[in-house]
């Protein structure tokens, strides 16, 4: 390797030590051959820096995003389902089970108490067995799901809008 050339490149790149930098600067200042070599190297450095990057085809980014969309579409459903939705459904089911259990136990203790004291509580079976209540409950659930869906959709659209 040409020692002078190597040192000059280190000097230009700033990868030499402070002592080396001072020594090389002094050589460029005093020595004609070092000065000429330095000027040549600076010219090459400027030429390489001025080189332009190659342009990919016009449809490049579109093709990349198409590839990504195809990848997303081929993903199994379980990886694309939002974990929050799964957790919410699980939570709802657990709460329902707990509520049903509590209700059952409360009814059971009430029954034994009724036997002992002969106290008659109002009969709620007409309400709970009623088809109207079931329809109302179904309607409420659907309404809740619909509202949650529109809320998350709106939130996502807002986030996309902010990024543009």
């Amino acid at each position: 390797m040409n020692n002078m050339e190597e040192q000059l490149w280190s000097y230009i790149d700033g990868t030499c030590s402070e002592e080396e930098r001072i020594a090389i600067a002094a050589l460029i200042e005093k020595d004609e051959s070092w000065k000429n070599a330095f000027n040549n190297i600076v010219a090459v450095d400027a030429d390489i820096s001025a080189l332009t990057l190659d342009e990919p085809p016009m449809a490049f980014s579109y093709n990349v995003m198409e590839g990504i969309r195809a990848h997303e579409a081929s993903k199994p459903l379980k990886t694309s389902v939002n974990n929050y939705i799964i957790s919410s459904i699980a939570g709802f089911l657990i709460l329902s089970i707990i509520a049903l259990l509590l209700l059952t136990f409360a009814n059971a203790s009430q029954t034994t108490h009724n036997i002992a004291t002969n106290v008659h509580l109002p009969d709620l079976s007409a309400f709970t067995d009623s088809g109207v209540v079931k329809v109302l409950f179904y309607f409420d659930t659907m309404l809740l799901l619909f509202l949650a869906d529109s809320f998350f959709r709106r939130k996502r659209t807002d986030d996309v809008g902010k990024s543009v």
Binding site: L53, S61, V64, M65, I68, E72, S163
Partner: protein, 193 residues
């Protein structure tokens, strides 16, 4: 507003499911990635394939990006390994054909040389030509250092070598480029005489 978003912000948005954010990252880096791929493959079709594969690989692995380096350094590492794998596959599959391909490329380059108009024969034209004639590693080091704004340490990370090795490679690449340029320009002067 888009230009204010950093790479990290765009990555976070992509991870939340916004593909539009990733499209911005692709647009930002597509020229660098394509040029880097072209330094290896030496032809635009293969370079496009390598560049696309790299972007898709990065998208798939985006959640594993630990931010220990710049996103660009990570991206170029993927491009480098994808290009190397692609070259190895091509070499294995078409050893005999490769020689012919090289011959055709040289012949094409020579014919282009003869038919180029005078206005195209600027110094930058010869430099661009010279850089395509360098070995892939040399051209890659030059592209990463001068255009992709990667430090010697980052290039070492991308290429999987020591920083001193990068320094030596860079020095050799510059010298080879200079020699190639001088050869081309001498050829041109002889042609004019």
């Amino acid at each position: 507003m888009q230009s204010k978003l950093t790479d990290i912000e765009l990555i976070q948005r992509t991870l939340k499911g916004e593909q539009q954010a990733y499209a911005l990252l692709v647009k930002t880096y597509q020229r660098y990635v394509f040029t880097l791929a072209l330094r290896f493959t030496k032809n635009r079709e293969d370079a496009e394939e390598v560049a696309q594969d790299s972007f898709i690989k990065v998208y798939k692995a985006l959640s594993s990006f630990k931010q220990e380096s710049k996103f660009s350094t990570w991206l170029y590492t993927v491009v480098y390994t994808t290009a190397m794998t692609s070259l190895r596959k091509r070499d294995k599959a078409t050893v005999a054909l490769d020689d012919d391909d090289n011959f055709i490329q040289v012949a094409d380059a020579a014919s282009t040389w003869d038919t180029n108009t005078a206005e195209n024969r600027s110094r930058s034209f010869y430099l661009s030509r010279a850089i395509t004639q360098l070995p892939a590693d040399d051209a890659t080091v030059l592209t990463l250092f001068y255009h992709a704004e990667q430090s010697l340490e980052e290039i070492a990370l991308i290429m999987g070598i020591e920083t001193n090795g990068v320094k030596i490679k860079l020095f050799r690449a510059r010298r080879r480029l200079k020699e190639q340029l001088e050869r081309d320009l001498k050829h041109e002067v002889k042609e004019l005489i």
